[in-house]
Symmetry: C2
Subunit: 303 residues, 2 copies
């Protein structure tokens, strides 16, 4: 089966907004490939290329793609079938005023380390260390409800979630705020730690195979992104503090547990304290992102 | 081989302090069993037993046990060989003014759900759901450096870390602040989610088999607890906010990566952003607790 390819040159955005011009309109259930470039627009190619400041145009998100039939209140399902790196190197960098330990004086800001992709495409080099390639789509989301949001920032529409679960074999779900949903993605990493402490993973271009489909009139309404990894359901929330983000992610999991089991809020909350748990996506973007996971044994597909 | 048994009735503490009277002095390398009771001193036995407030005496920690030869600046190694529940029920509870969603009006505070242990001892019941027993030692630590710290609070000495990695098959490491180290533990759960959102897991008594040993003049100094799971090394840090806790855990991992690989602080920080990552222990105690994990491939035993 062929896939429609949507490339960075077809169109890309630096903000998710309520109104965006789709570069393509996909059928409900269509298979697509998104071609993305690295988050820094190719500016960093050697260890000597330094990021003196976060550029205004960062995290180019290829798209947006409208999906036929997606209406506000629906849910957009994005099956992530494959994420392939499409260049021979990634780059992990610091920049002044950015990152978890940005005030530590013995850490250089800026600093760049090029991470070369091995000939077999299976791993990256970091100095003498070898790191398996395990790609992450850093920025993925849909048109926002009200205000434009930079691709540097995550929020209820997705955006710069920097969530390691956005990878091959998982399925992401987004609330549809605008007609067509308007999906865009980019800012991939060849590898990234939960937390993304220095502010980046190994930033790299990727080709992302997805199937997009619409859940019309969903039995559970979705306010924020959700991902199914194949073994767990994870709510994803972004906020100014981790404390707020984990509370929001927990509230979203409580909603799903109530829907599944008919629990009171009290029972869902108590149960959430026994299985799965809270996880960190990233602690470095203008809003930080956390997850609440529940294993498949206790949550079925709500859609 | 026999084990020395140290039971709750032999001695227990409600605070970790610089000066504590050991209930037993173990040889370096001795095998022990700590018998612990549930965190609420047996007060909650049915769903009708409600916790109107967190009691002053909570998280009884069996011990402390001095270890022969442990001197300030050393590291105390605690191999956790087995954690067995020793009663027929756990209890998961909320209490007023406690827990992540303590202000949510449709969640009862207090509330209690008894979680019965199955006849084969393999699982718990939560209503109609079955949850595998996967015990966690909630409170584990050593004598503090300066001030007494309640067993409700985690800090650099350990204490109420509520960390799911404190379980069968892992090895915990604590800084030794006082002669003998003075190890105590309790507050186990039969199951607990990372985060411990409602404020408890399934609180239960346990018998904990450990081997204690001293790392004298360690090649890396330890300021806070560390755990080796068998597949990853995890630094553990507690602070007033998750933001501070993850920064401390990241700084501790940077120290270990520098020791292992001879990295600059910059290289260690960049590398930490590619593999392993940040994790949440608990978000409900007076200080919150987070971890930074690095897989075994990239860190060997520093001791």
């Amino acid at each position: 089966m062929t896939r429609t390819v949507v490339s960075h040159t077809d169109g890309h955005v630096y903000e998710f907004a309520p109104e965006m011009e789709p570069v393509y309109t996909a059928d409900d259930g269509e298979r697509l490939t998104f071609e993305t470039i690295d988050s820094l627009n190719g500016a960093i190619q050697t260890d000597d290329d330094l990021l003196e400041a976060i550029p205004e145009e960062v995290n180019a998100a290829t798209g947006p793609v409208a999906v036929e039939g997606a209406e506000p209140g629906d849910v957009l399902r994005v099956e992530i079938e494959d994420v392939r790196v499409n260049e021979d190197r990634g780059r992990v960098v610091t920049a002044p005023g950015f990152g978890l330990l940005q005030d530590r004086e013995d850490i250089d800001h800026p600093a760049t380390r090029i991470t070369e992709v091995s000939d077999d495409g299976e791993s990256l080099s970091f100095g003498e260390q070898t790191v398996p390639i395990d790609p992450v789509i850093g920025t993925i989301g849909v048109a926002t409800a009200d205000e434009p949001v930079s691709t540097l920032t995550p929020h209820d529409h997705g955006g710069n979630l920097d969530t390691t679960d956005m990878t091959t074999g998982t399925t992401a779900y987004f609330p549809v705020f605008q007609e067509g949903g308007l999906l865009a993605m980019g800012d991939s990493k060849a590898a990234m730690a939960d937390g993304e402490m220095c502010g980046t993973g190994a930033e790299i271009g990727t080709d992302v195979d997805v199937t997009v489909s619409v859940v019309s009139d969903p039995p559970v309404s979705l306010e924020r992104p959700l991902v199914h990894t194949g073994s767990a359901w994870k709510t994803i929330a972004s906020a100014e503090t981790l404390e707020s983000a984990v509370a929001m992610a927990n509230e979203d999991i409580i909603d799903l547990l109530r829907h599944e089991h008919g629990y009171s809020a009290t029972d869902a909350y108590l149960f959430s304290s026994l299985v799965g748990g809270l996880e960190i996506s990233q602690v470095v973007d203008p809003l930080v992102t956390a997850r609440n996971a529940i294993p498949d044994e206790y949550l079925s597909d709500p859609f």
